[in-house]
Amino acid sequence: MANPLNDPLTHAQSRSDDDVILRARGVTVGFGPVLVLKDLDLDVRKREILGFVGGSGTGKSVLMRAILGLTPRRAGDIEVFGVNLRDAGPEERLAVERRWGVLFQQGALFSSLNVRQNIQVPMREHMRMSERLMDELALLKLEMVGLPRSAAEKFPSELSGGMIKRASLARSLALDPELVFLDEPTAGLDPIGAASFDALILKLRETLGLTVYMVTHDLDSLHSICDRVAVLGEKKVLRTGTIEELMRFDNAWVQSYFNGERALRRV
């Protein structure tokens, strides 16, 4: 249920507690004897685009999977849309799941269904609507993510990497979620494709009032669309803030990330 606010820009500055759409407290995740995340706290605010960075193996994907409930956590609470996922019964959980969408790194389109059917899976399973409306909405979503109509009847194996990302985004938007998780959405795209994907996410935020949780390594994405950036390291969130704030943050990894040669060359 998208309910766009009147002014899309005010949200980033607001600090009110009600604005938090996802709240993680003391999240601890480990595999065997190794702890990947320890006592991690995180807030995602309504209608912001939060970028997530961190070195390889710092647990960015693990955190996302822990929030989504795909990886079990040892301790901690995660509250999404005001529902604590630990106490949520199956029905409450389903209600939450219908309100978020996920774009997996490899797209994770169902290989035996074509793009149109892929987009229709959530509608078909969770809603009762006519075949006609489903087809129309699938084509609408397809175009909204910038795919040609001819892609609707194609199977995932026939699509290019960029098209898979877009088709998968269309599927994650099928039920007009309020919160979308994007795992490296621009990885593997050419710079033009990546820029247009960024523009797409911005536009969807404007029209659908999305909140975006984005794991990314793309400095251009971080600079151009993220309202805030969170840095993951030492098993927790080291710092969240705007890029400018992070550039002043005194941490060797952060410094070499944002002020390194690659980062400076982009200007």
């Binding site: 998208a2 609507m129 909405l137 175009e143």
Partner: protein
């Protein structure tokens, strides 16, 4: 206490349902010239059923001007925006001039976005079952069979090349890989093959004995079991088990390697897929199946002997003496000689099907099924051919 908690929870649920019952509505009013269509409530995908019903029930106003009042909307998403857009288009199609009023700024962006992507007119999917379609399918099948035949010949040809090249270049035999495959398809299969054969041998002996006993001919159970097991049952059962076990594994392995571009990687590194992946598997299977067949024969005869002893009171010594009269080495060899051919068939079918897997998980499943079904069918056909052959040369 528990009851109280349940009551509390129930109340909460009722409240949420109550909140959700804020349903979208659509109403028409107006006079001869101007009508007013008012959309209220949450127009979102969660209420798509109600919305579609409301739109279907709507009495289309045929006035010159229609005011579409959206000021009472309290929720709008893509689905709702699309339905509003469709409604507007339908009204305009009926010749009315539509004026949209009361559209909040935040919804305007969404509606504008939706208007830019007007899908083409909806046509339901149809799958006509015509004569042309049947002919087309038949043609495709024939072409497919020809392609299969070529693929099989290609693999057999490469195998002959590799085997004859062993003397020049021993490395291309890939003994390590053959040994690894042999371990998986032979050693791993020993327990299940022997257990199954033991049971079948026991059943043959029990069933045969039951009927032969009525004629006082229960001693012939030994001939029955010996000949049947050694000539036919041992090898057929083993081949079927191996087709289900190793054949499906070969198809799935090659298929998933194909899906993940590993086969392409082998190509560009300059390796022959047949030489690296297919031939070791085929050779391992050709070695494995005779061994498994022999073990299966032993297990089945043991089962038959055990039941003869317990059920028909034929002591083991007598069983063995009678067996020596009933079967000869030829009987054993007739069974064993079929095994390598069956192994070749299972391996070829499995590898050809594996290489035919395309991008989807469904195709992987389909080809694995096909591989097992085809292999078992071919095994039985070949067994029949062997039976004709042996009877014509008088063995």
């Amino acid at each position: 206490m528990a009851f109280g908690m349940a009551g509390k929870r129930r109340r909460k649920t009722v409240m949420t349902i109550h909140a959700a019952q804020d349903l979208p509505r659509l109403s028409v009013s107006g006079d001869a010239q101007t009508s007013r269509v008012v959309a209220e409530g949450p127009w979102t995908i969660f209420h798509s059923e109600v919305l579609e019903a409301a739109l279907a029930d709507l009495a289309m106003p045929h006035t010159a001007k229609v005011i579409l009042d959206l000021s009472r909307l309290n929720g709008l998403d893509t689905a709702g925006a699309w339905l509003l857009h469709r409604l507007q288009a339908e009204l305009e199609f009926h010749g009315s001039r539509v004026v949209v009023t009361g559209l909040e700024g935040s919804y305007r962006a969404l509606l504008t976005e939706v208007e830019q992507h007007h899908p083409p007119e909806w046509v339901p999917e149809r799958h006509p079952l015509s004569l042309v379609r049947v002919l087309e399918m038949t043609g495709r099948q024939v072409v497919e069979i020809c392609k299969d035949a070529v693929a099989v010949l290609h693999i057999v040809g490469s195998m002959v090349t590799v085997l004859s090249g062993v003397f020049v270049r021993p490395r291309c035999l890939r003994l390590k890989s053959v040994a690894n495959q042999f371990d998986r398809s032979c050693i791993g299969a020993v327990p299940i093959v022997m257990l199954m054969s033991f049971l079948i041998g026991a059943i043959i002996s029990q069933q045969g004995g039951f009927y032969l006993k009525q004629f006082g001919a229960d001693i012939y159970v030994v001939d029955l079991a010996g000949v049947l097991v050694l000539r036919e049952i041992g090898v057929i059962l083993t081949a079927i088990m191996v087709a289900g076990r190793s054949g499906s594994a070969f198809t799935a392995e090659l298929g998933s390697m194909k899906m993940r571009e590993e086969i392409d990687a082998l190509h560009v590194i300059g390796l022959h897929v047949t030489e690296v992946l297919v031939i070791p598997r085929l050779l391992a299977l050709i070695l494995a199946l005779p061994v498994l067949t022999f073990l299966s024969d032993l297990a089945a005869l043991f089962g038959a002997g055990l039941v003869s002893w317990l059920y028909l009171d034929i002591p083991p010594r007598v069983f063995i003496d009678l067996m020596q009269v009933a079967v000869s080495t030829d009987t054993l060899l007739v069974g064993l000689v079929k095994a390598p051919f069956m192994a070749l068939i299972i391996g070829l079918v499995a590898c050809v099907e594996g290489m035919k897997v395309s991008g989807s998980a469904e195709s992987l499943g389909r080809h694995t099924t096909l591989s097992v079904v085809k292999a078992i069918f071919m095994v039985i056909v070949v067994d029949g051919l062997f039976a004709i052959f042996f009877s014509s040369i008088g063995i």
